[in-house]
């Protein structure tokens, strides 16, 4: 019973965070792509410091203002994610930033 997931401790996904920008911060952050980490200057600095590799929209076809404020932040796998989160969470353009966790079936 319940053997299928007992060996898997909850562990956040290495090098991944989810970021929600404040409504007026969206225009700047949309400039981030896999090839370009230049958008909002004060955020750029933090991203470079933490070796962020890309900042991309979380929804493939959002079409919705709320959903389009969400971005996936990918760093190197061994990056100090907590440090990145601690620096960005108080940024005026950032509403929230958290690590991500894997999802498992509940059987």
């Amino acid at each position: 019973m319940n053997g299928r997931q007992s060996l898997m401790p909850p562990q956040c996904l290495a090098g991944e965070a989810i970021l929600r920008v404040v409504p007026h911060g969206q225009a700047g952050i949309e400039q981030y792509t896999e090839d370009s980490l230049t958008g909002i200057e004060s955020i750029d600095k933090v991203l470079r410091h933490h070796h962020v590799e890309s900042v991309q929209p979380a929804f493939r076809n959002s079409g919705d203002n709320e959903l389009s404020r969400l971005f996936e932040v990918l760093t190197k796998k061994d990056e100090d994610l907590e440090g990145l989160i601690a620096e960005l969470r108080d940024h005026p353009d950032v509403e929230a930033i958290t690590p991500r966790y894997p999802v498992r079936s509940a059987t």
Partner: protein, 482 residues
């Protein structure tokens, strides 16, 4: 427990204003008169015979004493060889029109009387029965189908017993206009018990899932990302969950879902994975894929109808924010859920199988029905997570449902047992689909409240309990509230 032969719960309501009278064969009165066949006249519009015309004045006086009128008198049987007529030309039938076989069976001695709908027909029948020409007078009762699933499988479906589904199925087995999304590992499109109800579905597993694999595990099959967009299930979990919700209970050799006719939209966003050293397996997903799948489902339409319920028999940890002391679920998942909720979707999610009070997401997001698991005796399953709201901000457990030794569909046309809050969750989802089927105008909030209010409190007096939430769900009682 004799699950198959239990009594139906529907109370025997008399049909308003209708009485059937059987006269004694040698009676000298009414039934010998010319009276039209009931099937030839329109209900509520007929005045084919008056009591005086057919010598039933003594019966009419009984009605009048109670403040009612006999509105019509008809015969319930058409004589053999009697051609059907239209309502405009309904013509009377005498007792002599029936042949000897029909008369011997008493068909010619029966008359139907129609009075006002508000009349106390049971009392009128008692009084009419005292007449010397009357052998019996009785109210009439509506008939329903006795919906029973295949006994050899239903014998093992204790979850449906617990929900009093046999009673509920007499009223509602689901409506094909109601679409339920199962966001999981997909579903077997060829399983005979599911195939009639399955929509094509979609695959939302992306390359993101590669980052969700824990050390020591591998995806099987590899790669987990497919070329084509299909929701075929290579894990089995989604097929099992889909069967609990909506397997065709009206088929031979099949388990019965909580609903039998609702449409199921399988969305694959979990990939099968195996632990190398122990061989244990599970399905794993990425919150980004889950979020995009929820968004896709919220935008989906089937024959113009949106998805009513989303089943999430899955979950993951939240981030403990040391500054606020709160657990925070994935922001993209939360946004997608709110997006779906704003479109009228009800979200049902498993609270997780760690046997702890730590919150699991998406079950702990606001307005998501978090489902824990109970066993046969309504005992909390040892693996079922719980919560304690006095110290824990997340609100995980809203209700509990059967989640131990649950029989359902498996890939390859098979059936099998599984355990988990994953199995408890589709019982609630199926019930929500049943309620949406029963009243097409009801809202997600009303369905949610009906599920909570009809739940059987466990672990103490009525009210919320940290292990059981509002209690164990009940389909029969929830239907009564919709």
């Amino acid at each position: 427990m004799d699950a198959v032969n239990r009594k139906m719960f529907l109370p025997p309501y008399p049909i308003p204003g209708e009485i059937i009278i059987r006269f004694k064969p040698k009676a000298t009165v009414a039934h010998r008169a010319a009276i039209p066949f009931a099937g030839d006249v329109r209900r509520r519009m007929l005045t084919p015979s008056t009591p005086n015309e057919v010598n039933l004045a003594h019966i009419e006086r009984i009605f009048q004493r109670s403040g009612h009128q006999v509105q019509s008198i008809t015969r319930p049987f058409r004589p053999q060889g009697y051609a059907a007529t239209t309502s405009a030309s309904a013509h009377p039938i005498t007792r002599a029109a029936y042949d000897s076989t029909e008369q011997e069976a008493g068909l010619a001695d029966l008359l139907e009387l129609q009075t006002e709908p508000k009349a106390d027909v049971e009392r009128l029948c008692r009084e009419v029965s005292e007449n010397q020409d009357v052998e019996a007078a009785m109210p009439r009762f509506s008939r329903t189908r006795f919906q029973q699933p295949s006994p050899q499988y239903y014998l093992h479906q204790w979850g449906a017993w617990r929900l009093d589904c046999e009673d509920a199925w007499q009223l509602q087995t689901g409506n094909s206009d109601v679409v339920v999304a199962v966001i999981d590992s997909g579903a077997d499109p060829n399983h005979p018990s599911l195939e009639p109800n399955l929509l094509p579905g979609a695959d939302h597993v992306s390359n993101q899932v590669l980052g969700a694999l824990p050390p020591g595990w591998r995806f099987d099959p590899y790669p987990p990302v497919r070329v084509g967009n299909n929701a075929y299930d290579d894990d089995g979990h989604g097929t099992h969950v889909a069967g609990v919700i909506g397997a065709r209970g009206d088929m031979n050799r099949s388990v019965a879902g909580i609903v039998w006719q609702c449409k199921i939209l399988p969305v694959r966003c979990m990939a099968h994975a195996v632990e190398d050293t122990t061989g244990q397996d599970t399905s794993i997903g990425h919150p980004g894929d889950i979020a995009n799948a929820i968004k896709w489902v919220a935008d989906f339409r089937h024959n113009g109808e949106p998805v009513k319920v989303i089943n999430l028999s899955l979950g993951g940890a939240g981030w403990f924010d040391p500054l606020t002391g709160e657990f925070i679920g994935d922001a993209a998942e939360r946004a997608a859920i709110e997006y779906a909720q704003n479109k009228g979707c009800l979200i049902v999610a498993a609270v997780g199988n760690e046997g702890t009070r730590w919150p699991s997401f998406p079950a702990s997001f606001p307005n998501v029905i978090g489902v824990g698991a109970v066993g046969l005796e309504d005992d909390l399953a040892p693996f079922s997570n719980w919560d304690k709201r006095s110290i824990q901000p997340a609100e995980s457990v809203d209700v509990v449902a059967p989640g131990v030794n649950i029989l359902s569909t498996m890939p390859g046309g098979k059936f099998g047992f599984m355990n988990g809050t994953s199995q408890a969750t589709p019982h609630v989802t199926g019930l929500a689909a049943m309620l949406f089927s029963h009243n097409s105008t009801t809202t997600a909030y009303e369905v949610e409240q009906a599920i909570y209010r009809s739940a059987k409190p466990l672990g103490g007096p009525a009210g919320w309990h940290p292990y059981f939430g509002h209690g164990r769900i009940n389909a029969r009682d929830a239907l009564a509230l919709i």
